[in-house]
């Protein structure tokens, strides 16, 4: 299977008054055709910025993609001009945001907003676009499609709006769908429906999904491949089953441990001590060292690199280095 998306050595920096924030630091990942890749990490780990870098949403003057390559279908998105990028966005790469309530224009009808990418990228007439828009509303499982098309966003619930966002995203049959925490703002029963729908569309159209989430339940349910990010770096990646069964990095272990287990009473839920380090104060070290139970001297002074750990996993941890350099 070919890679739809290849990110290599991506660095995205924000230049603030206090200094440079390396929000994404030398990150690499691949999304193969028809695959769901999840990026997991807590808030501030750089997972959303990674997605935004792909979409070209990191905007100056503060933010800048400092280096690397983002290849979509072999084309480096970072080298494209505004217009070339515009024809890819919404057409071949689509994106869903976390907040469906604010991602739709409040003064435009749902139908109008659904028609726009069709008119723009598919060169449909208004009439044809409206017809297709109503079909799409039906496809995402909303009845009374005609009436919904004439509604304004404030008249619909969050779950319905997220379905509309998905309808807009899939309207031009993209090869890659980036979903940035698509279910975070929704209640749990709706979450499952939305995820189901995403998976169904993936299977029907063969598109790939880059799913960004902090919810390990979502990862377990959806992912083929998982990338764990911490403080702007990939700390571990691997096939979902392998990674869940045999996590290598202490951070991944901590994440998995801090998830409640159904049907099993625990007196106290485990949580990783400490907080994500201030991105301004990072020194060459393993960024997780001050929260890590297995911290060694070397972890405080040198940064581990991502290395093969067998079983299709890659991990960046000094514990996995066979020869510990002195």
């Amino acid at each position: 299977m070919s890679n739809v998306l290849e990110i290599e050595h991506l660095s995205t920096h924000f230049h603030t008054e206090e200094g440079v924030v390396r929000a994404v630091d030398d990150v690499g990942l691949q999304v193969r055709q028809g695959e769901i890749v999840c990026i997991v990490g807590e808030s501030g780990s750089g997972k959303s910025i990674t997605a935004m870098s792909v979409m070209g949403l990191v905007e100056g003057p503060a933010g800048r993609v400092a280096g690397g390559r983002i290849a979509f279908d072999g084309i480096d998105l970072l080298k494209l001009g505004r217009n070339e990028l515009r024809t890819i966005r919404g057409n071949e790469i689509a994106m869903i945001f976390q907040e469906p309530m604010t991602s739709l224009n409040p003064v435009l009808k749902i139908g109008e907003q659904l028609m726009e990418p069709l008119i723009e990228h598919r060169k449909m007439s208004k009439k044809a676009a409206r017809k297709r828009a109503i079909e799409l509303i039906g496809e995402v499982g909303i009845s009374r499609a005609e009436q919904i098309a004439d509604s304004y966003p404030h008249e619909l619930s969050g779950g319905m709006l997220q379905r509309i966002m998905i309808a807009i995203a899939i309207s031009c049959e993209p090869k890659l769908l980036i979903a940035d925490e698509p279910t975070t703002a929704l209640d749990v029963t709706i979450q499952a429906q939305i995820l189901d729908m995403l998976r169904r569309f993936k299977e029907e159209s063969g598109m790939s999904i880059l799913l960004i989430t902090h919810d390990l339940g979502v990862v377990a349910e959806m992912a083929d491949y998982v990338v764990v990010m911490y403080a702007g770096k990939v700390v571990e990646e691997g096939e979902v089953v392998a990674l869940f069964e045999n996590p290598q990095h202490p951070y991944t272990k901590g994440l998995l441990k801090s998830k409640p287990i159904i049907n099993q009473r625990q007196d106290e839920l485990y949580s990783i001590p400490g907080q994500v380090p201030n991105p301004l104060e990072l020194t060459p070290s393993c960024y997780f060292h001050d929260r890590c139970a297995y911290c060694m001297d070397i972890c405080r002074t040198q940064q581990p690199v991502l290395k093969d750990a067998g079983n299709g996993q890659k991990v960046a941890c000094w514990l996995n280095e066979e020869v510990t350099p002195v």
Binding site: L57, M95, L104, N105, L108, E116
Partner: protein, 310 residues
């Protein structure tokens, strides 16, 4: 746009509606506006003024502006409801004809300044950078010069260049829009700066929409309430400025009547004391029209301001 809305509104009606009728923002706003008695009073006065000025003269036998020495400075009577002026012309007919000019100038200069102000404000706010600097510094420049002296200079230039009186009305419109657009452009730009950062604008980037579509399909509709409100106030302001200019003999010139130059014509002790029918009607017209427009504008703002929930 408007035709689509109309069509779709029609389509929505055909579908059996489960909950409350499909209330678009506009319909809701209209309903609220109709409930606002003061605003409706303002609207009634403005509507009356328009109707009187544009239709009224059709029923008057005195609209030819002919000089009639036999009836100089007559007090109001059944024949001349508001009396006659120093040249024997019917004051009522002149007030109404003057109203045509004043209202037209107010409306036209509003349309022009709203068009220019909105366009420049939208572009400056959306693209920022150099374009923004250019547009806003130009606006600042015009805003730093007090508008009345500026208008006076323009007016004096017109007299100096002996611009034919027929054209003066159009040039006055232009002048008023030149001083009218910067304030509006500023407001629109400020609003744009906030709107362009909204998440749904990020969504339009992700959808790969063209700038034209982003600006005019997504951002402009968000600005319409603001623009309507400012435009309303703008008409009042323009009518006032035109009156001031004409009063000083720098706007529209006699014999074409405007409310301003009618008051000017009565600007002496004798007329002031002995012939109040010469200056009270045009003065009252200016007063009533501008107050009514402002009251109506206030009502519109209350209704259209999305931050106000009720």
């Amino acid at each position: 746009m408007s035709t689509i809305h109309a069509e779709e509104a029609g389509a929505a009606k055909a579908v059996p509606v489960r909950t409350a009728p499909h209330a678009s923002m506009w319909r809701q706003s209209l309903r609220r506006l109709l409930k606002n008695k003061l605003a409706m009073l303002g609207f009634a006065v403005v509507a009356f003024m328009f109707a009187a000025c544009f239709i009224g003269p059709l029923f008057s036998p005195y609209t030819d502006n002919k000089i009639n020495m036999a009836v100089m400075n007559n007090a109001p009577s059944l024949k001349h409801w508001l009396g006659t002026d120093a040249l024997g012309r019917d004051v009522l007919a002149r007030v109404l004809l003057a109203g045509r000019i004043s209202l037209t100038v107010g409306l036209a200069s509003m349309v022009l300044s709203v068009f220019v102000g909105t366009l420049l404000g939208v572009i400056a706010g959306y693209y920022r950078g150099v374009v923004d600097q250019l547009v806003m510094r130009l606006a600042d420049l015009l805003l730093t010069i007090p508008s009345l002296p500026l208008l006076f200079i323009f007016g004096a230039l017109l007299s100096e260049w002996k611009v034919p009186t027929d054209y003066r009305m159009y040039i006055v419109m232009l002048m008023l829009s030149i001083v009218g657009w910067p304030g509006l452009a500023r407001m629109v730009r400020g609003q744009m700066l906030s709107l362009r950062e909204r998440e749904y604008m990020q969504a339009t980037v992700v959808l790969g929409l063209r700038d034209r579509r982003k600006l005019f399909n997504h951002l402009l509709p968000n600005l319409v309430p603001l623009i309507i409100v400012i435009a309303t106030f703008n008409i009042g302001g323009a009518i006032l400025s035109e009156s001031v200019l004409s009063y000083f003999g720098l706007g529209v010139m006699a014999p074409t009547p405007t409310w301003g130059n009618m008051i000017d014509a009565a600007n002496n002790m004798i007329d002031f004391q002995d012939h109040p029918w010469l200056w009270i009607p045009p003065g009252f017209s200016i007063f009533a029209t501008v107050i009514a427009i402002n009251i109506f504008g206030d009502g519109l703002r209350d209704v259209l301001d999305p931050k106000q929930k009720r």
